[in-house]
């Protein structure tokens, strides 16, 4: 099927570059590799391990929330002195909340998702031999690795890890007197995040430079696959917003260790007045959410990019409204940096500012809606191939809509007053960024597994994985909106202190049961993933009959990606089921896709995008 794709430049093999014949020593190949494909795999596997830990933490929390008055040996086994006699310590519950959030948002969905697929796909899809700087790329991964190790090691600190919520608002996070986790645990959290930010910046700068400078001949910006657009814009958002988190972290570090008062003022704690004067926690909130909100899109845009690619390929149709999709990505990126205040409507910020942020926040719903409609239209009159990646992509569109819609409530300053910090918020953001982005990650893994490991994943296990996850995820998060509407606050160790919430207990049990089932389904994925790496069926060069350039590269990984000359691009990446001029057959007879490196055929018109 892909004969045309390879013959297009087979005669250029003569100019083969010599460097990929050289055998690399083990360390250079597998550990300190500068090859983007290997780094992508390193990111993925580290991210998945972190994800395993993060999800395990959520299960402990669900166990506690469903049966707050029961004892579980597993608490003692996993939490040690914080779970003595099978009773979870209230402080460690908050630590679980904090570290679960941190790990899932930063380590799994930022590094694990965006890190993996930006690394794998940017060079391969734009037709480059590697990232602009392989060395910086390697450094970026190893900084990420070190920050992961530090974050995990903070779990073993005597007084417990950071426990002030993933947003680590001061003064709680600044004062060890206020909560045990704000001692060494919090210091390690800050150190880990500082290194993480450095890693993220190195990665992002590399992605931006690579996309701008290393596109192969003919690959204009308007011919880029939407995946690359998404990764590119994500990297820009990261460069704009991550440094602000770093500054917030540094100021917090100074307040903690050097007696400054950026965020602290008028505090009396443990029978003592502190010397701090004149700072404001609200300033910290502004700095944090200046990253915190764009972070949502840093997590989500790569998932949406992956979905665009997977849906188009498996629908055998061009993505509907390519220009609108690019414009939406850009609009979302721009708006994402001016909406952070919607996390702070009731923070004590001037109410007029609240009005402005309501306005910008609801604006961002427009490009999001356009994206959702475009996905649905792409399915219309398609020839849908239900590979597991496709199912996860459709699942993503579904949870993106469900979760996104409740954003209209939370983004409205008035309505936010009474649902702020309740389980309504938890349900909203888990659906719209947690589950959606995870679906994007899974879609990416199933779709590009052959590119990463040269083998195929088992589709039947993929189906089981998807359907149980899809049922479970909705089962967990849809009912959760309703306990939020009951006014149940998040981050409560137990709800039994308020008899008013007693009748919500059954729903909490239901949610927990769904959570356990969903988590169990992930074991199927892990089994499939690991066994396919070693025993999966060998992949063909272009298993999904896709148009993008990565499928013109050989299955085996070579340094430099392509033998011989780099492919030249003649068209956009969405010429699926395009017909020839008299509409008697496809552009290439009998083949419903036209890879990007195939020149325009006789009588064919390029779509003007």
């Amino acid at each position: 099927m892909s004969a045309i794709a390879t013959t297009a430049h087979s005669d250029e093999h003569a100019e083969d570059h010599a460097h990929h014949h050289h055998e690399q020593p083990f360390i250079e190949k597998y550990i300190f590799s500068t090859d983007h494909k290997m780094i992508a795999k390193q990111y993925l596997i580290t991210g998945l391990i972190m994800g395993f830990i993060g999800i395990a933490m959520s299960l402990l929390m669900r166990l506690q929330l469903a049966w707050p008055d029961k004892e579980f040996w597993i608490f003692e086994a996993l939490l040690g002195k914080f779970g003595q006699d099978g009773v979870m310590d209230p402080g460690i519950y908050l630590a679980l909340v904090t570290i679960h959030g941190t790990i899932m948002v930063f380590f799994v969905l930022t590094a694990g998702l965006s890190g993996t697929f930006s690394n794998l796909l940017i060079p391969l899809q734009i037709g480059a031999r590697d990232m602009a700087s392989g060395f910086l790329n390697m450094l970026s991964y190893w900084l990420f690795f070190i920050s992961s190790v530090i974050m995990i090691s903070s779990l073993f600190v005597e007084a417990g890890p950071a426990s002030a919520g993933w947003t680590v608002y001061p003064p709680l996070s600044a004062l060890p007197q206020a909560i045990g986790g704000s001692g060494l645990g919090m210091t390690l959290w800050l150190v880990s995040m500082t290194i993480f930010i450095a890693s993220s910046l190195l990665g992002s700068l590399n992605y931006i430079v690579t996309v701008l400078n290393l596109r192969t001949k003919g690959m204009s910006m308007t011919r880029l696959p939407l995946t690359v657009w998404a990764f590119f814009v994500t990297a820009i958002i990261g460069v704009v917003s991550f440094p602000v988190l770093l500054s917030a972290g540094l100021l917090l570090l100074m307040d903690r260790s050097f007696g400054t008062s950026f965020f602290l003022s008028d505090i009396y704690i443990q029978g003592e007045v502190l010397a701090h004067q004149g700072g404001s926690p609200v300033l910290y909130e502004h700095l944090f959410w200046f990253l915190g909100h764009p972070e949502v899109y840093i997590v989500l845009l790569p998932a949406l990019g992956i979905t665009s690619e997977v849906i188009a390929t498996n629908a055998r149709k061009p993505i509907f409204g390519y220009r609108a999709m690019v414009a939406s990505i850009l609009a979302i990126a721009f708006l994402s940096t001016v909406v952070w205040g919607h996390h702070m409507f009731v923070s004590g910020m001037n109410p007029f500012l609240g009005s402005v942020f309501t306005f910008t926040t609801l604006l961002i719903a427009i490009p999001s809606a356009v994206k959702a409609f475009n996905y649905i239209t792409t399915l219309w009159k398609g020839n849908l191939q239900f590979n597991p990646a496709m199912l996860f992509s459709i699942g993503l569109v579904s949870t993106f809509i469900t979760g996104g819609l409740t954003g209209i409530i939370l983004g409205d300053s008035t309505l936010d007053i009474n649902v702020h910090d309740t389980y309504f918020v938890v349900a909203h953001f888990h659906l719209v960024m947690g589950i959606s982005a995870l679906y994007g990650l899974f879609a990416g893994v199933y779709h590009w597994f052959p590119k990463m490991f040269g083998r195929m994943m088992n589709k039947n296990l993929g189906y089981i994985h998807f359907w149980i996850t899809a049922v479970g995820a909705y089962g967990v998060f849809f009912p959760m909106h309703f306990i939020g509407m009951a006014g149940l606050p998040r981050r409560y160790y137990t709800n039994t202190a308020f008899p008013y919430f007693d009748d919500l207990a059954d729903t909490n049990v239901l949610i927990s049961v769904f959570a356990f089932i969903t988590a169990a389904a992930q074991i199927v994925f892990i089994y499939n993933f690991i066994s396919s790496i070693f025993y999966g069926k060998r992949a063909t060069q272009n298993p999904w009959n896709s148009n993008t350039l990565e499928w013109t590269a050989p299955v085996e990984h070579i340094h430099g990606n392509w033998y011989g000359k780099l492919p030249t691009v003649y068209r956009w990446s969405y010429d699926y089921s395009k017909l020839n001029s008299d509409e008697s057959d496809y552009v290439i007879a009998g083949q419903d896709f036209v890879p990007q490196n195939v020149p325009l055929q006789e009588g064919e018109e390029e779509l003007n995008h």
Binding site: A369, W380, L405, L461, W467, H481, M485, G487, P543, K578
Partner: protein
Amino acid sequence: MTAFLIIIVLALLAITAWQISKIYKLSRPSDDDGIIANDKDNQKQAKIMLVFMVFLYGLMIYSFWNLSKFYLPEAASEHGSSYDQLMFISIAIIMIVQVVTQALLHYFAYKYRGKKGKRALFYADNNTLEFVWTVIPVVVLAGLIIYGLVSWTQIMNPPDDEDTLVVEIYAYQFDWRARYSGQDNVLGKANVRFIEGVNQLGVDETDEYGKDDVIVNELHLPVDKPVIFKFRSQDVLHSAYFPFFRSQMNVVPGMITEFSFTPTTTSKEIKNSEYMLEKVKRINEIRSERSKDLVAEGRSELDEYEFDYYLLCNKICGVTHYNMQMKIVVEEEEEFNKWMEEQQTFGELLAKQ
């Protein structure tokens, strides 16, 4: 309800077990199978997609049918009724969009399932369509924004009224205090640096305005009288959440935040409302059920629950964050005045020392 839940759980576990038993079989693909979706898979997955759609709609119906009883009772404050109305409109709009788009998504996925030899439509663009579905959200959102912002401005900028009761809500790990401004309706100056002995809220002892302030640990409010709350924290961030009054404001150390509302339903009225009678009955059934288990384990049984308004902390503030609450009593003005007279002023408290 519990029995029903157990049945659901058992059914789901059975399905899981059945699926897992299939996993083994499915995980050994025959030569041509197990990798890329073929016509048979497309057919089967499309059908499951429809079943899933039924599940999703079933879940939504179940949730609205069975769980919407958990919604908070009608707002007990003046601005609360417009809040409730805006919430109702917003939920209605988003549910309409939800029902329509999810149906399209899943139905299209079913309808256009792949078949060998089928030709997908090459359909890359349509400006009219895109224009239409850009404009529709713009119009709907503009409506919601305008409605929301008008309410927001009214809530956050209440009219100046001589008659307004001024109350300070003071938060510390892990409890609340309320300080009334007394006869002069002006709160005495305060700062944590004045905290000493019985002066636990750090009121400036030299400030005349503070002498008649009244500090209590149970918030009483006269019905139909506007109250302006000034929030002050002693240590870390807290959030004063009054769910029944649709009011919430963070309590920030180093600054004073504000929120005002007018309670409209007395504690007595809400206790006897149909909603609350039913709710309390349900809760007490659950509690007496649980008490039986507790007694069997040799522990003491749970108290019978009686509803009272409460204020709770809604910003993570430390280990006992989950139990930081204060009872609120809304009563007729005479009752309130009577209660107030029984309280000790800050001046009296100091004099006693």
